[in-house]
Assembly symmetry: none
Homo-oligomer: 253 residues x 2
């Protein structure tokens, strides 16, 4: 399952460490984002450390576009969110990642192009950077420990965007063999186990048989077994019966 364009643009403003640029590209690739833009990367471009840190997303990072100014990087976009961990004196709407992701997908659906800004490693985005954005995006972090690595902030946004875009779709589902057992499967297990226990003289004293049976069936109902689980359990019972059977064949003297 791939993601249809246009997906949001990730814009790193004056990133300092190639490792962070590469890790951000990798996080984007994990969730299907492809358009990475860099504004005045400190160590220039291309950057070998970025390519190394991108792991297998190296072809994505080689497609990154570099701009001298933030305004140039935003020129073709319709809607821009500025990611920041600090509250600002600027009068702008502040939204969280889930709401931002719904907003980004709605804008894409109406033919618009959007982008998300991420700031410098130490100092984040300036107020002038944020003034070029439509809204402030902030993450629901622990206030006492709110500073996220750039690549981790990119990861959370990319993850929420993919969820909003594709729903909570996971790449593989519960194995088909995990079909839940029918009552008929379960009743077959009851009969098999109870007859085996009968032969083993389990139901003593005899007047306790109904209660003991109900308790056993109650325990087996708690399992939420699959059809395969029931087949496995009947195999277990059969082997225990067989072993006891062989034992009984030993002459007793």
């Amino acid at each position: 399952m791939t993601v249809s364009s246009p997906s949001p643009v990730v814009i790193l403003v004056e990133p300092q460490l190639g490792e962070n640029i590469g890790a951000a590209a990798r996080a984007m690739a994990n969730f299907g984002l492809t358009d990475l833009r860099l504004v005045a990367p400190r160590d220039g471009w291309p950057n070998e450390r970025a390519v190394a840190a991108a792991s297998r997303a190296d072809h994505d990072i080689e497609g990154a576009r570099v701009f001298d100014t933030l305004r140039e990087a935003l020129a073709d976009l319709n809607h821009v969110l500025a990611t920041t961990a600090r509250s600002r004196e600027l009068t702008k709407d502040v939204i969280g990642p889930a709401e931002a992701a719904r907003e980004l997908t709605d804008i894409a659906a109406s033919g618009g192009r959007s982008g998300v800004l991420f700031g410098r490693e130490r100092s984040g985005l300036t107020n002038d950077d944020v003034a070029l954005a439509d809204k402030i995006l902030t993450l629901p972090v622990e206030p006492s420990f709110s500073s996220l690595n750039i690549a981790q902030a990119v990861l959370v946004i990319a993850y929420e965007w993919r969820k909003a875009h594709l729903g909570d779709t996971i790449p593989f589902q519960t194995n088909d063999a995990a079909l839940p057992a029918t009552k008929d499967d379960l009743h077959g297990l009851f009969d098999h186990l109870e007859s085996a226990l009968d032969e083993a003289g389990y139901f003593q004293p005899d007047h306790m048989r109904p209660t003991m049976t109900r308790n056993l069936r109650g325990i087996l109902h708690k399992g939420a077994f699959t059809r395969q689980d029931v087949r496995t359990l009947r195999g277990v019972v059969a082997h225990l019966e067989g072993r006891r059977g062989r034992h009984r064949k030993v002459p007793e003297e």
Copy 2:
């Protein structure tokens, strides 16, 4: 706003790189998780590189508990999820992060203790590891690029857990402007208005110029303008300039 215990336990199975252990501890701290357990870390414990990578979460990582076996690490838990990017032949329920987070908070609410397993850097969790878990947890990644760094996987789970625990953000308001202005349109309006106001001596006192400029841009960003809105506003500015121009041409006596 802080998170009440018991929060889910994060269990790293045979982690190899101290950097990843530290980054995982930092990701946990970002979203209010505190209980980190390590099963047979390759390079022993404590690990200087882990403490360095934990950044300001170093006190959390120094509280990490180390176990020889996975079974010991799980002994006091009631419910365990195994994180994996690969489909397994095991017949277990497979859930995504959001559903997992709801499950983890429900279990905490009923007084239970839960944990999430994360595997080795290269090989992930073995089928025997997964067999000790109640369910499989997988992330909605791009199938063509599904391998997440351990700390990034921890981050997504910690983030979803905090969201499920502390609830969602404010409702989303749609902006259905037919032809939204691009940033280039808006920047042109900024330049036009600001130069006209410059001529008009608006930016007084001079040291207030940056604040006044940001406030103006903030106001103009609130409009969610269409391209036509921007053309109209530039016409308004042009007429104001022109009127002032004509006014100045009138001889004053």
